[in-house]
C-alpha cells in the first residue's frame, strides 16, 4: 500500500483541467498509463507503485475505498468533486454528491492518512 502514491495520483489529476478531463474520458487507460509512466519508471522501489486494490479503486472512481486506504481527505474530496462534477445532472448535483460521499466515508471513521 502506498498512501503517498494515492495522494500523488489525485494531486496530479486534480490540479489541471486537462488531467481531470483525460481521467474521466478514459479512466482505466489513464490509470494504467500513469502507472507505467510515473509509478514504475522514475521510482523503482517496490513500495512506490499501486497495489491492485489501489489501481482498481482509481479505475472504479471508488472514493470510499480510497478513503479507507488512507488517501489524504482534502485531496480526496477535491479529486472526487472534480471527477463527479462532470456527471452532474438535474437529478444529481453538488449537495447530492456531498451527502453520498459522507455516507460512504462515515463508517470508516478517520483513517490514518499519513504516508
Amino acid at each position: 500500500m502506498s498512501k503517498y502514491m494515492i495522494d500523488k495520483f489525485m494531486h496530479s489529476v486534480e490540479m489541471s483541467n486537462a488531467g481531470v478531463e483525460a481521467y474521466v474520458a478514459d479512466t482505466a487507460g489513464f490509470v494504467d498509463a500513469w502507472i507505467a509512466a510515473s509509478g514504475r519508471t522514475d521510482v523503482p522501489t517496490g513500495d512506490r507503485i499501486f497495489t491492485a486494490e489501489e489501481r482498481d479503486a482509481f479505475v472504479a472512481r471508488d472514493y470510499e475505498t480510497l478513503y479507507r486506504l488512507g488517501g489524504h481527505p482534502y485531496l480526496l474530496w477535491h479529486f472526487t468533486e472534480a471527477v463527479y462534477t462532470q456527471e452532474f445532472n438535474d437529478n444529481f448535483g453538488w449537495r447530492d454528491l456531498v451527502e453520498k460521499y459522507r455516507a460512504a466515508v462515515a463508517p470508516h471513521g478517520v483513517p490514518d492518512f499519513i504516508p
Partner: protein, 279 residues
Amino acid sequence: MAKLVMAAVTPHNPLLWRAMRDPMPDDLAAVRKNFSTIRDTIRELEVDVAVVVGTDHIRQFFFDNSPAFIIGKAESYHGTYENEVRTFGMDYAELQGHRELSDEISGRTVLPENIDFAVSYEWRLDHGFVIPLQYVIPDLDIPIVPIHVNAALPPMPSPRRFAALGDHLRDTIERWDSDARVALLTSGHMATDVGGPKQFAGSPDPVFDAEAVGWMRDGDLEAAIHGCRFDRIMAAGNITYQYVNAITALAAMNSAPADLAEATESRFASSPFFMWRAA
C-alpha cells in the same frame, strides 16, 4: 524603525467567493462586515506592507517537498491555480512582493537562529493567501511577504513553533531600519472538516470554536498552545490545524487580548475573525 501596527486573522474559505455576492445572503452579512472592518482598519492605519502567514493547500508544496516554514522572496507572485478557478470560481491575481522585508525576516545570507525558513523565489499563491487579500486589500496595492506554515501535511510544526514565528516577526519588524507601517495578516479556520465525514454540515465542533475564540479574546497564549495539540485539534475537524495560524498573530501582538474576536456563523463552518491594533 518600522512599526507593526496591527494583526488580523480571517477565514480563507474559497466557497465564499461565489456565495458572498450582492444581493448579500442574510447568513453571510456578518462575514462581510468583519472583512470590511479589517479592510477599513488597514486603510486607517496606513499600512505600507503586509506579512501574510497562511497555508498552501497542497498546491505548490506536496508530500515530495513539504517545508515547515517557507518565505517568499519574489518581486511578485501569481495568485491562484487552474483547479481553484474551476472549483471555486476564483479570479487569477497578481500580487506585489516586498523583497527587503523578506530578507529582514529570513536573513539574506544566514538564517535567523530561531526559525529555519525555506525560501521560494517562484511561488504561485493559492486561495489561502489570495481570498483574504482580495477582501481586505481589494486593490491588491500593498506589497506582501508571504509565509507558508505547513498545517496540511503531517508532521506539522507544533503550536509553540507558530508562536515562535510570531515573536520573530514582531522582533524583526521592530528592528527593521525603515519607517514602514506593517500589518500581519493570517488566515485559517475554526473547526472545519474537508473530505471527512463532518464536512459541509456547519461547525463540526462548536465547543472547540468557543474555546478558540476565548484564547484570542483573552490573550491567553498558553491556553491556545495547549488547546491546539494535534489530537485535540484534529478531533475538531481534519483541517482545523489551520486555526493555529492565529497563534502566530497572538504571539506577534505580545499576547494582547484581541480587539475583535469572533467565530462568525453562516451556512459554512464558522469563520475566524480576530484583530489587534498595536498599543
